[in-house]
Assembly symmetry: none
Homo-oligomer: 206 residues x 4
């Protein structure tokens, strides 16, 4: 029977397990990670793991929640600053922060993301989508001229998804042909060009 951790010690244990989960994933890959690995890495017995998580999947889920939460809490405090920036700088800033998050703690999250199966399937990327949408919305509110673009949702979708994947792929490359700065700059340029181009298109239509 899973218990809600009520004491201080219990909370620490739960956390240790999730941390251990990331470490194991990085070490042994997703298929090579066993509950025993995780328990050992967390410095507890297997039995104890099952005191706090009903099964292995729940540990994975907790890891996922943590990734999502951390992405959200990276973007949230950043938003006020981002929305005031010009698009080019905003994109670059966000990407650099994103990279920092992915590389933190021995690239824990990058490795997680690279391993994570079914990326395409998960419909519960929602919180991240939501915060990104918020960001877009607020950005638009600070830059009223953008509001005229009809294509905004499509373009956001592409830039966001394409950007995320390009960065993950790039960071995982053993012999990258581009520097990260080139990539970030390129994505930022692209966003700028798209905005300018779309704007111009709207102007011409009228």
């Amino acid at each position: 029977m899973t218990r809600k951790p009520q004491q201080q010690r219990a909370k620490a244990t739960v956390d240790a397990i999730v941390q251990a989960g990331f470490l194991c994933l990085a070490k042994h890959g997703i298929e090579g990670t066993t509950t025993r690995h995780i328990a050992d890495e967390a410095g507890i017995g297997v039995g104890s793991l099952y005191e706090y998580f009903a099964n292995k999947q729940e540990v994975m889920d907790a890891m996922y929640q943590m990734v999502v939460a951390d992405v959200v809490s990276m973007i949230q405090p950043l938003t006020p600053r981002l929305v005031k920036m010009e698009i080019h700088e905003a994109v670059r800033t966000l990407l650099y922060e994103f990279r920092e998050l992915l590389m933190r703690d021995d690239a824990r999250y990058l490795k997680y993301a690279s391993q994570a199966v079914n990326v395409a399937q998960r419909d519960n990327l929602e919180p991240i989508n939501k915060i990104l949408n918020d960001l877009v919305v607020q950005y638009v509110m600070h830059h009223p001229e953008v509001m005229r673009l009809r294509n905004l949702p499509v373009m956001s979708y592409i830039i966001i998804n394409g950007g995320i994947f390009s960065v993950i792929r790039h960071l995982g490359e053993s012999a990258p042909m581009l520097t990260f700065d080139q990539l970030a700059g390129g994505l930022a340029d692209m966003a700028k060009h798209v905005m300018d181009g779309e704007m111009r298109k709207v102007d011409n239509e009228q």
Copy 2:
């Protein structure tokens, strides 16, 4: 010891196994796919599978080879036509063909791509990278004005990777908020904007 299929019957068996591999992957997911599943689906005994493939991974590899080969042989004959098109139309055309390939046979390849772990890691996406590079190179040769862009490699990288992932993600969504046409159009627009924008930038620099 793996045997090379010498008789007609044997060739058919090998093929049936790879086909069954795709089916099983779609049905049970990558972790849920067992050698017995594959053998059953192929209508053969487990032993027969091992007559032609040294282990499970080799079946997976054969599937991968087939995907790569099919992508290549989709793009190759298309190239002459694409290079003559204007960028916007070229991108849209390519994306529609790509979708057709992904959705073929009950979305066999789409499901494969969605499942494929470590997509980011695989450095042996090479044949596909190569054919896409060829396409870019030939496109440039037919559109000399593009040659002036310094940013070409970066932009190709982003559009290609971002585009592939956006499409896969979109096709896998159960409740997409965009139509495929919107997505393809968006990517095409984006490519156009980037080209125009970069061009303008180069012009201004001079």
Copy 3:
């Protein structure tokens, strides 16, 4: 990952597995012995076997170690008495003790020895060789006249190896033409004759 048995219960399990190993070898022969046989015979689940032994071979190795240890701890306490005996009696005594060990627990060790492949190859019969050499050395020290024999190493080799194999072979015969007493007496006589004969030879050479 193999675990070291820490609790009392675990130690008993490890022992039960090794015991079961001998039983299975006797019942099904070396090729017919499966890990499941052993686990069943030990009254445990297969998984438990693998908690303490990395693989089947390790169980076999543990059995081997036990045989070696038991042979050694049969001879060791016997040595002081043997070295004081006359050669004929010493050989007979040792052989009878050896038989007792081989026949113990339903001839567990005899059956093991009969099955043991590559007996000839194993260079790690060492502990047994060592204790036997010790025995010879100590025997010589108590019987200084023997020291004159040049041939000692050769003769020991022959008597020891030939004796061991003759006894194993004899005990395994379904319809032996000799009694064990005849065999043991014969080996003892032989040792005596060899000693006397070699001694005489040395005398004549001088």
Copy 4:
């Protein structure tokens, strides 16, 4: 259905299979030898193997028969010469011939003997026992004084079995401490000593 080889070609095939059996045993060991290995080595298809042998065991049996036959046909023509020799020389000669047989064809028979499980059990070593008994009987007939020994059967048993095993063990040692010549000489000396000693005993008893 197994067929008796009636044609010339068929006989050659049967022989090739048995030869291949020895080769495989030497290469892969007894547990690593598969019917496919044997068929491949013999240069035929698996199916063909089963045309001549009902199952794998029959191939092994044929190998065994061949070993036995070869041992017998080594000793048989040698017997007339051996019986005329003095005991010491007879033993040495026989052992050297035995070694030659064991080492022939890349130590094929030695490896077979080292691998052969259950050596001790097989009661059908008979043909070899018989020819050796014949040898002893004929030897006695040529050396009438030996007939007085009561212990003859026991001593033969020990010398023969002990001798065979000592030689096999010695030839298989990677770092032997004795030369073969020392071993053979030692066994010959031993036989001589035993005969002399027993003779003397009989003399004293009278």
